[in-house]
Amino acid sequence: MLRYLYRFVVRAHPGSFRRRFGDEMLSIFDQSEGKLSHASLLLDGVLSLFRQWALRPDLEQERCAVDGGWRSPFLQVREGQTARCRSRLWSLAIGVGLEWGLLDNGLRLEPSYLYGVATASDRSAAGVEFATKFSWRR
């Protein structure tokens, strides 16, 4: 289940980033062991997804302009549709975040789970902080 979600998150990254690093990210996920480790990687992937779409506008515009559209299973944009592209990308990021929040019961990513097991350095990871923001749903 976690691998399926992680693969989804990797595939939702901008095309150039995904083609360059997607396989390696999945390779690292496959090499790491333990549910906590996989959950941390999933959180890292979601944060990376947000970072690549929202904080790397050069890449986004590049995606929007290439060949009149980016052929992705998630988004279709054409040249000159930067505003619409941007809103769709934000929608994607928010959608992934909401999906994460709804699924967290099944994944048991509550703070006590993470803080109880994680080391001090784990607790400082931004991904864990992200998880705590969704804990109110439970």
Binding site: F21, S27, S40, R51, S121
Partner: protein
């Protein structure tokens, strides 16, 4: 040399750790993550998202070069990376800068505080 590397300084912690990891030998992404954890004695952990975001920037700026896949590797999806000569120069300059910071910090902390 200083003029060439000064636009890259100071380095972010993630960039510094990645360049330090690659200073010894060529590595794939997972090995870089493990090396960063070892260097920092587990205090600093890089996730793949952060790692590859930084690697992308470093490759675009010419500090790191991609070597591609290796035949006979355990996992054929792995790609190897190495420090370029520019990257080595930037890392050397950053270490020198940090040495100056440490020296200055020690001097200031050892000096007696002045009365107002």
């Amino acid at each position: 040399m200083k003029e060439e590397v000064s636009p890259f300084l100071p380095l972010s912690p993630a960039t510094l750790h990645i360049l330090l990891s690659l200073a010894g030998e060529e590595m794939h992404g997972y090995a870089i993550m493990q090396e960063v954890q070892r260097q920092s004695e587990g205090k600093y952990k890089l996730g793949p998202g952060t790692l590859y975001d930084n690697l992308q920037k470093l490759m675009d700026r010419g500090l790191v070069a991609e070597l591609g896949r290796r035949t006979g590797d355990d996992d054929p999806r792995r790609r190897y990376y190495k420090l370029s000569s520019l990257g080595r120069g930037v890392l050397t300059a950053e270490i020198a800068r940090l040495e100056d910071v440490v020296r200055e910090g020690k001097l200031r902390l050892q000096a007696k505080p002045r009365r107002a």
